[in-house]
Amino acid sequence: MIDEDKLMKSKKRNQAIAFGLFGFIGYSIVAILVTILAFIVVKGFSAISWNFISQMPEEGMTKGGIYPAIIGTLYLVLGSMLFAFPIGVLAAIYMNEYVKDGFVKKFIRLMTNNLSGIPSIVFGLFGMALFVNKLGFGDSILAGSLTLGLLALPVVIRNTEEALKAVDDTFRLASYGLGASKIQTIKNVVLPIAFPNIITGMILSIGRVSGETAPILFTVAAYFLPKLPTSIFDQAMALPYHLYVISTSGTNIEESRPIAYGTALVLIAIVLICNLLANALRKYFGNKVKMN
């Protein structure tokens, strides 16, 4: 005879152990994130002020603000998206809507996956060789944006492909059924439905791009600039690089410590805002384009 009571108890105990373990792991991940955030916030908050985000650095970057670095990062994000977004979306449309399953598709997918696996410093080196030297853009916002764009490309392609895949086939069939051509169907039906997810993917890649240091190291980033860039062929400062500089090779590292944490806080804030925005947009559009 099986002792029902005992079996029940051991089941419950196992359940409790498993549940507790998973819970512990889950919460530790949250704890790690919270610790990092708290650390940055506590250390950096005192540095944050309106002047900090609106003024040029002063006295060998130990005082003053990080305005040019913020502006530089915004330019780079904008530039990289102008490059990566259209190309990535078009590539994904081609992949998902046009190429039939088979060798070509597998090959392109393998290559995009590999592209996203390349270390970002290699992108930086490649960007320097191609954009800075070969094409003669010099250390410039253009060269940096293109390099960051290359880095973002596989992310944009992947996200867009997933977004297109999520569009229920019956929408396509319904459109074809009304005599619409493929391009009409993609333009009028598929893309509008996939749009929220595509945008979400783009914003997430913005978060990614804005934090990258290695690709801009040799292609655009300046140690210090007394003025803002005025054209795409100018160098620019950028938040992640600025953070690196004032923590490792500033004129007075100890004195500029608060500025470093302040910069980190601003950078994290930008990334977090991007992620929150992506979530909000997904929710907003998700309600409008509800699948039933």
Partner: protein, 250 residues
């Protein structure tokens, strides 16, 4: 004259023989029900009439499907024009994420009609045809998703009617709907029959009996029996049909 005719038709998905030597003729302005257990090939068969299966890779078709006596799989057939002639309604209501008006106008616009007067007229006529006009006339600009499931399905039928097809293909059009919405769609099918040739795939035996003039029973890719609906349901000639309609298998 036969509106649709299938002659010695075989269809393959890769190596899978999905339809086996189907010979069947459908009269104009009638409702034909295709019934049979899941995987019997009835939906595949339906989708051959507007060449929807073209979209699936690695398929093969032999034999002929004639619509108005023309082989729609012959070389040089304009598939878009063919699809314009056959409206299709799907299992789940699938209005586009557009306004009610734009949903119905979509088929007109993609077919090159840009005169807003004609579009407005056709949209109104089509929505009236599906008895939805009174329910939506004040909110044509609102999203189609705000409608109930049954209303959405009627809107999808209106969308199909707007391009003025002569054939309407319905793939289990009520399987996702409640009984009241279902009976509304069935009434609608009955009314539409005077103007259109309707082919409907259904899992619901009672529905087939209620709405159709002829019924075709498919099993494992074969057309087992095809006759007048009354005949098929009261006096089936094949034992397998008898077993299926009485619920002994399937």
């Amino acid at each position: 004259m036969h509106k649709i005719e299938s002659k010695n038709l075989d269809f393959f998905y890769g190596t899978q023989h999905a339809l086996k030597n189907i010979n069947l003729a459908i009269e104009e302005n009638t409702v034909t029900a295709l019934i049979g257990p899941s995987g019997c090939g009835k939906s595949t068969f339906l989708r051959l009439f507007n060449r929807m299966n073209d979209l699936i890779a690695n398929t093969k078709l032999t034999g002929e499907i004639l619509i108005d006596n023309k082989d729609i799989y012959a070389k040089g057939v304009n598939v878009d024009a063919l699809r314009k002639q056959t409206g299709m309604v799907f299992q789940k209501p699938n209005p586009f994420p557009k306004s009610i008006f734009e949903n119905v106008a979509y088929g007109l616009k993609v077919n090159g009609i840009s005169d807003s007067k004609i579009i407005e007229e056709r949209v109104e006529t089509s929505i009236k045809q599906v008895a939805l006009w009174d329910e939506v006339k004040d909110k044509l600009k609102k999203s189609a998703f705000e409608l109930s499931g049954g209303q959405q399905q009627r809107l999808c039928i209106a969308r199909a009617l707007a391009i003025q097809p002569s054939i309407i293909l319905m793939d289990e059009p009520t399987s996702a709907l409640d009984p009241i919405s279902t009976s509304k769609i069935e009434e609608l099918i009955f009314e539409l029959k005077s103007k259109y040739t309707i082919v409907i795939v259904t899992h619901n035996m009672q529905q087939a009996a209620r709405v159709s003039d002829s019924t075709a029973f498919f099993y494992l890719g074969e057309l087992v029996e095809y006759s007048a609906t009354k005949e098929l349901f009261t006096n089936p000639k094949v034992e397998r049909t008898q077993n299926y309609i009485t619920g002994r298998f399937g």
